[in-house]
């Protein structure tokens, strides 16, 4: 079971969290013309690297904040977690 540092609450076991996938996905702005390709990329294409992965977690059984984590997808080492507005 992973041990994850919620930027707001501190170290907590994984069962308090929900996973949220690739954190680099950026939603196109509202009311902006986007090409089919851009839109499909947003909806369906995700980074799924072997190694360092920037991803979202949601502290559902805690403070209910979404946050970012940088984790290794092979070793599961978590290098850093950060609030959404912070850069990793």
């Amino acid at each position: 079971m992973l041990y994850i540092k919620c930027p707001y609450c501190g170290m907590r076991s994984q069962n308090e969290f929900a996973y949220g996938g690739d954190a680099t996905v950026k939603r196109p702005e509202l009311n902006k013309e986007v090409s089919d390709k851009e839109w499909d990329t947003f909806v369906y294409l995700r980074k799924s690297p072997r190694g360092k992965h920037l991803e979202l977690w949601h502290h559902v059984s805690g403070c209910r904040q979404w946050f970012k984590a940088q984790r290794d997808t092979v070793t599961h080492e978590i290098f850093k977690t950060a609030e959404i507005k912070e850069d990793i």
């Binding site: 369906y44 949601h58 559902v60 209910r64 599961h76």
Partner: protein
């Protein structure tokens, strides 16, 4: 009654307490502290089971977790457990046990015919045959093979035992209480660290219990006892025996199973059988020791062939002789300790040592005791079928290729030692890559990956002095990091006998003309020839060898066989062992009871049950409940002999004619608050939200970004910046996370907060033409007229003094209201509604009637919003704003979504107006078309229309909008039904929606 193989003066068992038990129906006795194995051996019994494939006789090979043979069926407290390891199971009064995998008995087993045909069953033989005739595999061969395979018999009864879980955090977890475990735990504990010391066996001390050493002027055991008693007194130390740390997972989470009651006739009241510990350790010291590995020789699986270390353990811990004419076969010094122990107890062993001329303190001691030692000698084969009777031995040449003249010597057991294999499982599980140590011909941990360190024999250190020194140091080091204390412990003086180099010899060659089976994996009957065959056939990767031969895949997971298998592969392939590589070590280290892994979440508690505050009332009023996610909802309220159909019809009819009340507490409720709430809703929902006035509700649909409908519900503007959103019961949690995602990540500039209020409000839907009359009586001081509270209106009032929210919204299509009060007033509200509603002939209605009412009105719900449909499919295109953007809008212009003949919800009526259409039927043009028959759509929901008194269904139908009036067949081959139906509008009742506004 004395036991023939029990010694009087040696052992750690409690001789004051005799325990009687049964094996294969016959009564025996042992002592408290015995295992099944030690007690049976004391009684002279060595034949306990039969092997997996050839049904060869099986005895005891080890004395603990590494045991590959002695698997028995256990009977305890009226229950039975399959596959119990006799070398681990402690004796308790009334224990019963039986041999497995043999018929009619372990002594005379029909399956043993396989042994005589064994040459026809080499590795992988089943891949090469049983192919003709085609149907025979499934009908004849496979059932036969299944019956022959497997060990114990599982009971189909529910497990009566209780299993618990515990979550624990500690500074240091030490796995194993041998010398390295004791020393490191002691040092760390003295430094103030919170330590958990786990020992698999009932007794602490590990190898100190059986080795002949001196620590600080005491025997090894005395020293261990002293350390243990000190640790027991320390508040920062948790000592756990009968506790196996079986898995090393990510982020230093280790899992341990503690056997609390397995050694008792039955579990004590309030005490679980086992407890599973999830331990998050800052540091881990692995002190799991090593396992002796066998030397491979002919018929080395015969009962009576045992590991030399096991023979010593039976002697010193249990006071039991594995034989009275022992032959000891070794390539190293440690087996001499066994020989000496035999001799000390009046038994004359013969030692065969593969080495030419070794010289060491312990060999000299054995010599001086007069023990018969023959160097450069090997056992070629054990003789005897159900028990060793003699051994064929011979001299072996220096290059270990040529055998001398074969001699037969009488013996009743062969104690074998092929040196030691460090138990590196936990280190490997943690991600440690491990490395091959040439000096000991075995893998040891390499660089740690997590906060772990491996000590002592588990790390390939086989002298006590070095083990203690490094373990004390490690205990100090890791604890210092945590506690910042430095409490140096002086390492005690150790005296132990120095060992000579072992012989890198592990497999005895076959003499010319002999075909003895030489086993590597005892349980799965994998012999040297099997591995040779696999390699010959091109299965050359070690994983291929393992899978093709099943080497190491038995319940002992290859603890005594894997390394010898590797040696064999590397010698045939002419590679060095590390380049062959070992197969992956995976948790669990030793099999773990599934009940313990699951814990308390069984039966009714396998998932949570959520109940509304009015649940008790529903129960008392004969509600039949249905699962809605984890909620329980009344499906209908049974009157007399009614079934579902009659009851739901009655309830629905009463809503259409009078008034009904339905518990809608389970609907998801979310408070949306903040100055930007309207803007936020406008982005989340497909329709427009910016102009909704305070005191008004609106129906909304939300999409996923891929354009698929995610959920629907009404949202009400309670005040300027406060909205009350409702979701479906099933999607409540997902919708909240979805909203939080957009607020926190995508549009953080919006000043909005969301919070679930599902549990804060109890809800009752009051529906039917008389609902306003009822409402007026519930709220006499409030204007609930059509003008005072119009359709989609909202107001707050007091229900006999209790704060209430009143929404004029309708799911049933009737004039309807929803009243919410704080949860703890739910029962009060419900009681008042029922009480005052009596004069209007109120009846409670359940989800089934609710479903009927919504279906005949053509309101879509979960069965239409199934995660595959877009708004258009559900007839919700009118709610899709063309003017503004919203989540998922951009996806709606995909080809498949905009097709002319896109599917759409329609109504379906059987032409005969009688035959109900099963849900899940498909609509086709031609009922008799050849298969595959093209499907045009499917029936998503069916009901008996109480308005028209005939069946009515909803369907999602291709080109639905142009299909009205067409006749199709609703086909349910599963129910053997084909029904001629007419397609009608989905709005079957009150198509103009007048009632809700009346």
């Amino acid at each position: 009654m004395s036991q023939e193989f029990r010694l009087e003066k040696i052992g750690l068992i409690n001789r004051d307490k005799k325990i009687s038990f049964k094996f294969n129906g016959k009564k025996y006795f042992g002592y408290e502290g015995d295992t099944i194995a030690s007690a049976l051996i004391a009684n002279g019994i060595h034949l306990v089971g039969r092997s997996f494939k050839y049904h060869r006789p099986r005895g005891f090979f080890g004395a603990g977790v590494d045991e590959p043979y002695a698997i028995v069926q256990l009977y305890r407290n009226g229950e039975t457990d399959p596959n119990c390891r006799a070398t681990e199971q402690e004796l308790f009064d009334g224990l019963e046990t039986k041999s497995v995998n043999c018929w009619p008995s372990v002594n005379f087993d029909i399956g043993a015919i396989n042994n005589f045909l064994n040459k026809f069953f080499p590795a992988g033989f089943y891949y090469k045959t049983f192919m003709w005739p085609k149907s025979f595999w499934y009908r004849i061969y496979e059932p036969f093979i299944r019956k022959a395979a497997g060990f114990g018999v599982a009971s189909t009864k529910h497990d009566k035992e209780r299993y618990e879980h515990k979550y624990e955090y500690c500074d240091l977890l030490v796995t194993g209480s041998g010398p390295s475990g004791l020393a490191s735990a002691y040092a760390a504990a003295k430094n103030g660290a919170r330590v958990i010391l786990a020992e698999d066996k009932p007794r602490f001390g590990g190898s100190l219990l059986t080795s002949d050493v001196n620590v600080g002027n005491q025997s090894g055991k005395e020293w261990a006892d002293k350390i243990i008693s000190e640790l027991k007194e320390m508040p920062n130390v948790t000592l756990k025996n009968r506790s196996q740390v079986f898995g090393y997972y990510d982020h230093n989470m280790l899992v341990m199973s503690e056997r609390i009651s397995d050694h008792l006739p039955k579990s004590k009241k309030y005490s679980p059988k086992q407890r599973l510990w999830y331990i998050r350790a800052k540091e881990v010291l692995i002190s799991s020791g090593s396992i002796e590995r066998p030397i491979v020789f002919g018929n080395n699986d015969t009962p009576g062939v045992v590991l030399a270390s096991a023979a010593r353990e039976y002697l010193k811990v249990y006071g039991v002789l594995v034989g009275k004419k022992p032959l000891i076969f070794t390539n190293n010094d440690s087996a001499y300790e066994t020989a000496i122990e035999f001799k000390k107890n009046g038994i004359w062993p013969i030692v065969l040592d593969t080495r030419m001329n070794p010289d060491s303190e312990i060999i000299n001691e054995a010599k001086s005791m007069g023990i018969d030692i023959r160097f450069s000698h090997v056992v070629i084969a054990a003789k005897g079928y159900k028990k060793v009777k003699s051994a064929e031995i011979a001299k072996i040449s220096e290059d270990k290729k040529d055998l001398g003249k074969i001699e037969n010597i009488s013996c009743d057991c062969i104690c074998v030692s092929g040196f030691w294999t460090p138990t590196i499982h936990l280190a490997s599980q943690s991600g440690n890559k491990t490395k091959f140590n040439e000096k000991i011909d075995a893998f040891v941990p390499d660089k740690p990956k997590q906060n772990e360190k491996t000590l002592g024999a588990a790390n390939g250190i086989f002298t006590l002095e070095e083990t203690l020194k490094t373990s004390f140091e490690s205990g100090e080091e890791v604890s210092k990091k945590i506690t910042k204390k430095e409490n140096k412990i002086s390492v005690p003086q150790v005296s132990e006998k120095k060992h000579a180099q072992h012989d890198k010899f592990w497999c005895v060659p076959l003499p010319k003309g002999k075909t003895y089976k030489r086993f590597l994996d005892f349980q799965n009957d994998v012999a040297v020839t099997d591995v040779e065959l696999a390699l010959r056939e091109g299965y050359r990767s070690i994983e291929h060898v393992k899978r093709y031969t099943t080497l190491g895949m038995a319940t002992d997971q290859g603890k005594t066989s894997n390394l010898n298998g590797l040696q064999l592969v590397s010698s045939i392939e002419n590679k060095i062992v590390p380049s062959v590589g070992h197969t992956t070590f995976r948790p669990p280290y030793t099999p773990v009871t599934i009940g313990a892994i699951v814990g308390r979440e069984i039966g009714k508690h396998s998932k949570p049950t959520r109940k509304s505050p009015m649940h008790h009332w529903h129960e008392k009023n004969n509600a039949v409940f249905v699962d809605a996610g984890v909620w329980l909802r009344p499906r209908y309220y049974k009157q007399g002999n009614e079934g579902l159909f009659e009851a739901s019809k009655r309830e629905a009819k009463n809503v259409r004619e009078n008034v009904g009340v339905c518990d809608v507490t389970t609907l998801g409720k979310i408070d949306v608050k903040g100055p930007d709430a309207a803007e936020f809703l406008n982005r989340v929902y497909t329709n427009a939200w910016l102009k909704l006035p305070v005191g008004k509700a609106r129906y909304g649909v939300m999409l996923r970004e891929d354009g698929i409908v995610m959920d629907d519900g009404t949202t009400t503007r309670i005040s300027e910046n406060h909205y009350h959103m409702t979701t479906t019961t099933a999607q409540a949690a997902n919708v909240l996370s979805h909203l939080e995602y957009y607020l926190q990540i995508v549009w953080p500039e919006l000043n909005v907060n969301v919070v679930s209020t599902t549990e804060q409000w109890a809800g009752a839907a009051i529906a039917g033409p008389k609902s306003r009359n009822l409402l007026q009586k519930l709220f006499p001081d409030t204007d609930v007229s059509n003008e005072g509270l119009p359709f989609m209106g909202y107001l707050e009032s007091k229900l006999f003094g209790v704060h209430a929210r009143i929404f004029r919204i309708s799911f049933s299509g009737e004039l309807a209201y929803e009243v919410n009060v704080e949860s703890n007033n739910g029962n009060f509200m419900w009681g008042k509604i029922i009480e005052i509603g009596k004069e209007f002939a109120i009846q409670p209605y359940g989800t089934e009637a609710l479903s009927t009412l919504r279906i005949e009105m053509g309101h879509v719900a979960g069965s239409e919003l199934d995660g595959r449909t877009i708004p258009y499919d559900n007839g919700l295109q009118g709610l899709v704003s063309k003017k503004k953007d919203f989540i998922g809008k951009r996806s709606l212009n995909r080809d498949a979504f905009t097709k002319e003949d896109r599917q759409k919800v329609v109504g379906v009526v059987p032409v005969d107006k009688k035959t109900s259409i099963p849900e899940g039927s498909h609509l086709v043009k031609d009922a008799n078309a050849s298969l595959p028959n093209p499907k045009l759509g499917h029936i998503s929901a069916s009901c008996w229309s109480v308005e028209y008194n005939n069946p009515f269904s909803l369907a999602i139908l291709k080109d639905g909008k142009n299909m009205i009036g067409q006749k199709l067949f609703a086909m349910s081959p599963l129910k053997n039904k084909s029904i001629l139906v007419e397609i009608v509008s989905s709005h079957y009742v009150d198509p103009k929606g007048e009632r809700v506004r009346s």
